[in-house]
């Protein structure tokens, strides 16, 4: 195994793999009757492929790649709306680089930028704030996207803008939350998941209790994990041990970083600035109740949705996926990336057709980068 040799501590990895195999055998996991474990976080998906963990673990364990890649679950319509805002007179549109190549119905942000729109890649919403300070005669809009790990930074930036009275700064809020899609997946009668590996850095913000429903209401184990390869193997082992012992608990493998109750400052900022939308559209998963956030009335001046009368609040027209794109089926675990007819043909990381090929955290891009050659060789 090529990647196995690159483990920082190969001895520890071997020991964990042996323990995983032993427990997998105890619970009767086999290739034709696998234990299915969903890693929720796109960072975990990336790490699993980087180290080939899916091939190293016992053959009775199947990883299902969850909806935790924020640009991958973004419907095309949201990108269209970004471009509509960016192409307005006098706007500087700022975004994380990850969103630049996501295809909209007509073009991506990168293509809109090439066409003359003032779209700038920033590292932080604080960069957008600084742009607003330096360009008082321009409207600076920040594309707020991502899960609970990126929500506090935009919330704190909006609070800062309010303190400074920076009226030319606003956020186009498309933030989403992790627990609701997990509930939606568990409610789907076609989905057969046996347990979860929970996200690390999202949990550093929200703590472990938002996952209580997974064990309490659905009887499934979840282990919050770090993203070093040994963390992931340890977490898989903990999930398997729960299954073997007939337990369904929320366990925290990443306690060295994730506090049980999360980060109080971040949680307070989220609660102060944002409120839940009644529902939000996810690419591949459809509308999910209470899964997206919008900016509260008290901060309306900083809400691009209100300022430009654009976005989820204004228009909710679902847009069909591009012809031949199976991102939806892959996202919900019904299809493997390599089984998509466009995989590696009409859809590559350089020229993505669907969002799962865009980000390194997307399942298709991960398969392409690390698993494509492997799949062909098999």
């Amino acid at each position: 195994m090529k990647y196995a040799e690159e483990f920082r501590d190969p001895k520890a990895a071997k020991a964990l793999l042996a323990q995983i195999a032993a427990v997998a055998d105890q619970i009767g996991a086999r290739r034709d009757k696998p234990v299915r474990i969903m890693e929720i976080c796109g960072g975990h998906t990336h790490a699993i492929f980087r180290y080939g963990l899916d091939k190293l673990v016992h053959e009775g364990i199947e990883f299902i790649h969850g909806p935790g890649c924020p640009v991958c679950v973004l419907p095309m319509r949201r990108i269209d709306e970004c471009i509509e805002i960016a192409e307005r007179e006098n706007v500087i549109f700022t975004t994380f680089g990850d969103a630049m190549r996501v295809p909209g119905t007509k073009k991506s942000l990168l293509q809109a930028k090439a066409g003359g729109a003032d779209i700038r890649m920033v590292y932080s919403p604080l960069d957008a704030l600084e742009l607003a300070r330096r360009n008082p005669d321009r409207e600076v809009v920040f594309f707020g996207l991502g899960f609970e790990a990126t929500t506090p930074p935009t919330a704190l930036s909006i609070q800062q803008a309010a303190r400074e009275g920076l009226g030319n700064f606003s956020v186009f809020c498309n933030h989403i939350t992790v627990p609701p899609p997990i509930r939606a997946l568990l409610d789907d009668p076609h989905m057969v998941l046996d347990g979860f590996v929970g996200p690390g850095h999202v949990s550093m913000v929200i703590g472990t209790h938002p996952y209580d429903f997974i064990s309490r209401d659905y009887g499934k184990p979840i282990v919050v994990a770090g993203f070093e390869p040994l963390d992931l193997l340890q977490s898989v082992l903990m999930v398997l041990q729960q299954i073997r012992d007939g337990r369904a608990e929320v366990e925290n493998q990443y306690a060295r970083v994730v506090p049980e109750h999360g980060n109080p400052v971040s949680l307070a900022a989220i609660a102060d600035v944002y409120e839940s939308r009644p529902s939000f559209e996810w690419r591949g998963l459809g509308e999910i109740d209470e899964s997206g956030l919008r900016i509260r009335e008290a901060f309306r001046e900083y809400d691009a949705e209100r300022k430009f009368r654009i976005g989820y609040g204004a228009r909710r027209v679902p847009v069909a996926e591009p012809e031949g794109c199976a991102c939806g089926a892959v996202m919900s675990g019904r299809m493997k990336p390599v089984d998509c007819p466009q995989f590696g043909r009409g859809c590559t990381p350089e020229m993505p057709l669907g969002a799962l090929m865009v980000s390194s955290e997307g399942a298709c891009a991960a398969y392409f980068q690390y698993g494509g050659a492997r799949a062909v060789a098999e």
């Binding site: 796109g42 790990a149 770090g226």
Partner: protein
């Protein structure tokens, strides 16, 4: 973009806005320490934190920082974060 990158706080730069200078792999970047500012800001100098899109999201110990940085380098995420920081600086300076 969901993964934080470890950095060491080297100086407080703007106490009113809770900003501090953080250093990662020899690159310096001003960050907000609001999420980890429980006590006096000066107490954060020398501490290791997980920086996420310009905010120190959690305090971590030095060993954890080293292990995390190594994992991020393996994934190419460390360089991605450093590139994004540079892109952010360029965007502010008027680069389109």
């Amino acid at each position: 973009m969901c993964l934080g990158i470890p950095a060491q706080i080297v100086a407080v730069t703007d106490p009113d806005r809770m900003m501090a200078m953080a250093e990662v792999s020899g690159v310096r970047r001003e960050v907000s320490v609001a999420p980890v500012a429980g006590g006096a800001l000066e107490d954060l100098v020398g501490k290791w934190t997980l920086i996420h899109v310009g905010f120190a999201m959690a305090l971590i110990d030095e060993d954890e920082a080293a292990a995390t940085l190594e994992a991020l380098r393996d994934l190419g995420e460390a360089q991605e974060a450093l590139d994004a920081m540079a892109a952010g600086d360029a965007a502010i300076e008027g680069g389109r």
